[in-house]
């Protein structure tokens, strides 16, 4: 990301202005900040759901702005796995089918899963095992699972087919402290195993110690700057 500027509405104060960030393969980033500071916006920009008003966002050397909307959709599922705070799984589908979802839409993810596990199903099962999901749960519809189990299944899905980027938006916020730690360890271990970069957003700074990199997003009133007659409140970010 270089010199990215993004505002939710034209003429309003931008969330990001002149923002740059480089994430390399295998790096685990902890991104934190207060609510509404723009953490989720950053993830949406990184995933190409949102496009910057100015600046360049490249994912694996691909400029996301030059792709069409459906091209970005395709590119996103080919190269990124997502874990959200909750509601990751389709309730009526089995855990295994939920895990296999990206392989249904992305040929690349499917092929990489095959390459890793012989066929996508075995690779999904391997990941579920690695994430501590008992075999008895695989055929259960997702709605029967506890939240911790659901998050682990979501992690298995995000990792399936070795996408280069894992985006986790507060995946542990619905879990209690013990389970947070266990989940985080499993996730980091599997990301390390697949060599994926991890963008992990949380407002809980206690988790930050386990990450290789930290990014803090916060509003620091550095005074408003007049530009073209419009007031821009500036966001600054600090990288530790």
């Amino acid at each position: 990301m270089r010199d990215v500027r993004f505002a939710w509405e034209k003429g309003r104060a931008p969330c990001f202005s002149g923002f740059s960030l480089t994430v390399k393969a295998g790096e685990h980033w902890f991104i934190h900040g207060a609510s509404g500071s723009g953490k989720s916006t950053l993830l949406n920009l990184a995933a190409g759901v949102l496009l910057p008003d100015a600046g360049v966002i490249r994912l694996l050397d691909q400029d996301l702005s030059v792709l069409s909307a459906s091209g970005r959709d395709r590119f996103r599922v080919d190269h990124a796995g997502f874990i959200f705070q909750q509601f990751n799984l389709i309730p009526w589908m089995s855990v295994l089918d939920n895990t296999l979802l990206p392989c249904r839409f992305s040929r690349r993810r499917r092929q990489q899963a095959e390459a890793a596990g012989g066929d996508a199903r075995s690779e999904a099962k391997r990941l579920l095992c690695a994430l501590d999901m008992e075999e008895a749960l695989w055929r259960q519809p997702a709605m029967k699972l506890s939240i911790g189990q659901q998050q682990r299944a979501a992690a298995a899905r995000a990792l399936l087919g070795r996408p280069e980027l894992i985006i986790a938006d507060e995946p542990t916020s619905s879990l209690d402290a013990d389970r947070q730690a266990i989940f985080l360890e499993l996730l980091r271990h599997e990301c390390a195993a697949s060599g994926a970069a991890l963008l992990f957003v949380s407002h809980d700074e206690r988790l930050a110690g386990r990450f290789t990199h930290r990014l803090r997003i916060g509003r620091q009133e550095t005074g408003s700057r007049k530009q073209n007659g419009v007031d821009y409140a500036q966001y600054t970010t600090t990288v530790d």
Binding site: A69, S70, R74, L89, I90, R104, S106, Q111, D119
Partner: protein
């Protein structure tokens, strides 16, 4: 999305290949499978939507078929009759009183004209009808035993007797009557029962022929034609009961007892209409012209098919109104379908967002919803057809018995197919609405709905 050749190379064992196929299918079938799975998950609600469509389809096709079959039955009220001859009046009016026994004739025709028609070289048979009397509201027809031989209905069915036989043609059997199936059923008439005819028809009954009671000789089987509502007696009997009548009323102070009447010349003086069968149908227009040009009495010959068609234009209006109602029912069903899918969209926003986060494009979401609607419409059509097949199989014997309507089992007419197709197309169009809504929603929501 085409499958890659890699797929076949990779699959080592049979089980691996089959499980592989479950995972790798083209996008459209992924969406279809997902739509089915998702719909199955909401089957509790959707079953009623499908049912509404199914009922509408049953209604439309049922009414359509009933209309076609009723029309066919109506047009076949008289078959094998090439001409209907009566006094000069409108063709529809002549059909109304001669075939449907509704209303009265303004004029009678002389029996000499009947004999003249019978002598015509082109005429194979002629059955005179004399109307004007009734039995508790049911019309009484004076005719000859030939009536039972030549009358045809439907696709050529002959009159058959549920019990007994036709009235005889001689003096001994003068006071015999043969009621149609409906008359017998309504009035509970059996062979041997005595009945008293009334003078006049419908509301205009003036007095009864109480001095000359009739005996039931036989009861006709149901035909689904106005024959079922008629009571048949001989022309001679009609003449006999009116021997001591003058100007539509019993002659005061003068009566001829029933047995005494047998001794009179009972050749009828007038009849109301004649049903005529020709030796060759090709002669029908010449015969018609000949009869219309008869010099001794103004006569009119009518082709029953043409007149019935004209009459159906009026009667068929009700059936057409029913079709309109059934199409409204279909519209209601499809509107319900759209409403149900639309209403479910909000609770499905998460599901759609999950699909988006896992690679489904907004247009896939659009397709998913459209496929769901089309699947439900198609299912509704199929269930409706099955329902119709069951219903018509169940109702066919009853419809034949009660109305003489012969139902064609599952024979879809061109208009029926057209109705099916238009319902399906409307369902397709209706499915695009939730599809479009979902498309807009998934564009707005991105990967995480803001609920």
């Amino acid at each position: 999305m085409p499958n890659t050749p890699q797929q076949s190379i990779d699959s080592g064992s049979q089980s691996a290949a089959s499980s592989a196929r479950a995972v790798f299918c083209p996008l459209s079938s992924v969406l279809c499978l997902h739509a089915i799975g998702s719909a199955w998950n909401r089957r509790g609600t959707l079953v009623f939507t499908v049912l509404a469509i199914a009922l509408a389809v049953t209604l439309i096709l049922g009414i359509e078929r009933l209309r076609a079959d009723a029309r066919a039955s109506f047009l076949h009220s008289v078959t094998g009759v090439d001409l209907v001859v009566g006094a000069r009046t409108g063709p529809v009016q002549l059909m109304l009183y001669s075939v449907f026994r509704m209303g009265g004739a303004t004029h009678d025709i002389g029996y000499e004209s009947v004999q003249w028609v019978m002598r015509d070289p082109a005429v194979a048979w002629a059955v005179p009808l004399a109307l004007g009397d009734s039995l508790r509201g049911f019309p009484v027809i004076g005719t000859t035993p030939d009536y039972f031989r030549y009358f045809r209905f439907g696709t050529g069915g002959e009159l058959t007797f549920a019990e007994g036989r036709a009235f005889g043609g001689d003096v001994e059997t003068l006071y015999e009557a043969v009621p149609g199936a409906e008359v017998a059923a309504r009035l509970g008439l059996k062979i041997g029962d005595a009945i008293v005819l009334a003078h006049g028809s419908g509301e205009n009954v003036t007095s009864e022929h109480a001095d000359k009671p009739f005996r039931i000789a036989g009861v006709l089987a149901a035909t689904g034609t106005p024959v079922d509502r008629s009571v048949h007696v001989s022309l001679a009997a009609i003449e006999a009961i009116h021997l001591d009548w003058q100007g539509g009323a019993p002659t005061p102070g003068f009566s001829i007892p029933a047995d005494m009447a047998r001794k009179f010349d009972l050749t009828p003086r007038t009849v109301t209409a004649i049903l005529v069968g020709l030796k060759s149908r090709t002669a029908v227009f010449q015969a018609q012209r000949r009869i219309n040009a008869y010099r001794d009495e103004p006569l009119m010959a009518v082709l029953p098919g043409v007149a019935l068609d004209e009459l159906w234009q009026i009667v068929g209006l009700a059936a057409r109104a029913l079709s309109v109602v059934s199409f409204l029912a279909a519209a209601t069903g499809l509107a319900g379908l759209t409403a149900v899918i639309l209403a479910s969209l909000n609770e499905r926003r998460r599901e759609l967002a999950i699909l988006r986060a896992n690679g489904a494009r907004p247009r896939d979401i659009f397709l998913l919803l459209a496929i769901e609607g089309i699947l439900l419409t198609t299912l509704g059509l199929a269930v409706g057809l099955a329902l119709l097949a069951c219903l018509s199989a169940l109702a066919a014997p009853w419809l034949m018995r009660a109305y003489g309507i012969a139902i064609q089992p599952l024979a879809l007419s061109a208009s029926g197919l057209w109705s099916l197709f238009s319902i399906w197309m409307t369902g397709l169009a209706a499915s695009l609405i939730p599809g479009w809504r979902a498309y807009r929603l998934s564009l707005a929501d991105g990967l995480q709905p803001r609920l």
